[in-house]
């Protein structure tokens, strides 16, 4: 329990540093920007690669995302999310835009990459940050508690940007089933993450 408390404190101090960095970035502080990049670029690259698969595109999106941070850090709303949560949602949104713009052929290639990558979600990442590795272990353990169907629905929504209806079509499953898989899966994730 003590370790968990310390982990939470470490996360909170990270959040505090991030908040200060975002404030400095919005005043044009390039050093703060470089530090923010060092802290979070790997997580962003992981997320956009997971969504896009293709390396060249992931690299481009990584650059676009941080440029957006530089230009729009004053749009960050502390009431809504942590700075890192905001950054990752910007990254997800940009990567999904890119994914949607792909033609049908490209999209199928991407799906093949994403499907093949599922079992590797549990593999370690060569991360430079121990906290990240610990957080990943934690969420992976939580994800392992979900049924494969619940996990698949959540991943299709989050990593491919599909809605309830689109997931139901993709999986040829009833809409109601998809809705309850997502709801139950998210509840299970919450329970697992809070213990």
């Amino acid at each position: 329990m003590q370790d968990e408390g310390q982990g939470t404190l470490a996360m909170q101090s990270q959040e505090l540093e991030d908040s200060l960095l975002i404030g400095r970035i919005s005043t044009g502080d390039q050093e703060a920007f470089a530090r923010f990049f060092d802290l979070h670029a790997e997580a962003v690259l992981g997320l956009v690669s997971r969504i896009l698969g293709a390396r060249g595109e992931a690299e481009e999106v990584l650059q676009e995302v941080f440029l957006q941070v530089w230009r729009q850090s004053d749009r960050y709303d502390a009431a809504r999310s942590t700075p890192r949560g905001w950054l990752l949602m910007v990254a997800r949104s940009r990567a999904l835009d890119r994914l949607r713009r792909r033609d049908a052929r490209g999209r199928h290639e991407q799906e093949a990459v994403a499907d093949a990558a599922f079992p590797r979600l549990v593999s370690p990442l060569g991360t430079r940050r121990l906290e990240d590795a610990e957080r990943r272990d934690r969420i992976h353990s939580a994800l392992n508690l979900l049924s494969p169907e619940q996990r698949r629905c959540i991943e299709l929504a989050f990593f491919e940007g599909l809605t309830h209806t689109q997931i139901a079509e993709r999986l040829a499953a009833p809409l109601g089933t998809v809705k309850s898989r997502i709801l139950l899966g998210m509840n299970k994730l919450r329970q697992a993450l809070s213990t």
């Binding site: 997580a43 992981g46 690669s49 969504i51 942590t82 949560g85 990459v113």
Partner: protein, 305 residues
């Protein structure tokens, strides 16, 4: 206008946070969120934190993992070059347009050209007055722009002050949270040491009346008379009420062992601060009392054992 919070919004929020909600449900929830429902706002923040975890969990494909440091260094180099060429000493929305005149330089130029103007110049024909009028117009624009810029700088300073205040408040809140977490950890540690002490005496309390599904248990260590209590499935109470634990002696006298509230799941735990006279205790009860508790029970009994 959608207003009151309803349980169905709790069911829609996870899918909304994932971006999976569509159709009528999306419209209905967005209309409700637009009312600023505090319950939904809190839930959105919790979901945002969980989804952040999900995003952090995304792994680099194995084919990229080894190359990551090189990719990151390359992108960082390009970005730093880009931001150095695009300084933002003020937020972009406040930056002056590229064509805006520099007031200092304009005034200096005006002075050099026109200050030595002779009375003859001033009495000149409209054609000769034109440069003066143009210069006056430029000066007026420059002065207006200077004022606007001053206002902009003032607003920026104000914004930074606000931000710094917000960050200080946030730091303070985090510090308070850390203190609370530490106090709670200590309390739970005390609780655990009582419950797991060798020879601890435990009494089970059963739910009564409308709280029949509730249950509780007291633990008393006869060696040091320390005691603890846990309960589950107790209904939530209004802000003006509290639960109060009592022990009964052989003469049916009830003595307060403390007041407590329940969490969202209806669970409670209490470390009893006073030494408990374990040898005379005949039983335990929990009643509902006005906030702060009472010297003797006045409300309905919800647990007994």
């Amino acid at each position: 206008m959608t207003s009151a919070h309803a349980p169905r919004f709790d069911d829609l929020l996870p899918a909304y946070a994932l971006g999976a909600l569509d159709g009528d449900e999306l419209r209905e929830l967005e209309a409700h969120l637009a009312t600023g429902c505090p319950t939904c706002e809190g839930e959105r923040r919790r979901l945002a934190a969980e989804i952040e975890e999900l995003a952090v969990a995304a792994a680099l494909p194995e084919s990229l993992a080894g190359e990551a440091p090189r990719i990151l260094a390359g992108v960082k180099g390009r970005l730093l070059a880009q931001v150095a060429a695009e300084p933002r000493s003020t937020p972009r929305s406040m930056a002056p347009p590229l064509a805006a005149p520099d007031p200092a330089r304009t005034v200096a130029a005006f002075g050099r050209r026109h200050t030595p103007a002779s009375p003859a110049d001033q009495a000149a024909s409209p054609a000769r007055r034109w440069p003066l009028l143009a210069a006056a117009a430029v000066l007026a624009v420059a002065a207006a722009w200077g004022l606007a810029r001053q206002a902009g700088v003032g607003a920026e300073i104000q914004r930074l002050r606000d931000e710094s205040r917000q960050l200080a408040a946030r730091a303070e809140a985090l510090e308070r949270q850390a203190e609370q977490a530490q106090a709670e950890a200590q309390r739970l540690g005390r609780m655990l040491s009582i419950i797991t002490a060798p020879g601890v005496k435990s009494v089970s309390l059963a739910g009564m009346g409308t709280s029949h599904s509730a249950a509780g248990r007291t633990y008393v260590n006869p060696a040091d008379r320390k005691a603890a209590f846990v309960a589950s499935n107790l209904p939530a109470l209004g802000p003006d009420k509290t639960y109060q634990l009592w022990y009964l002696d052989g003469e049916e006298q009830k003595t307060s062992a403390g007041v407590f509230g329940v969490d969202a799941q209806g669970s409670a735990s209490l470390v009893i601060d006073q030494p408990v006279p374990v040898e005379i205790i005949e039983g335990w009860v929990v009643t509902v009392e006005p906030r702060g508790g009472r010297p003797q029970p006045t409300g309905s009994m919800v647990l007994a054992g």
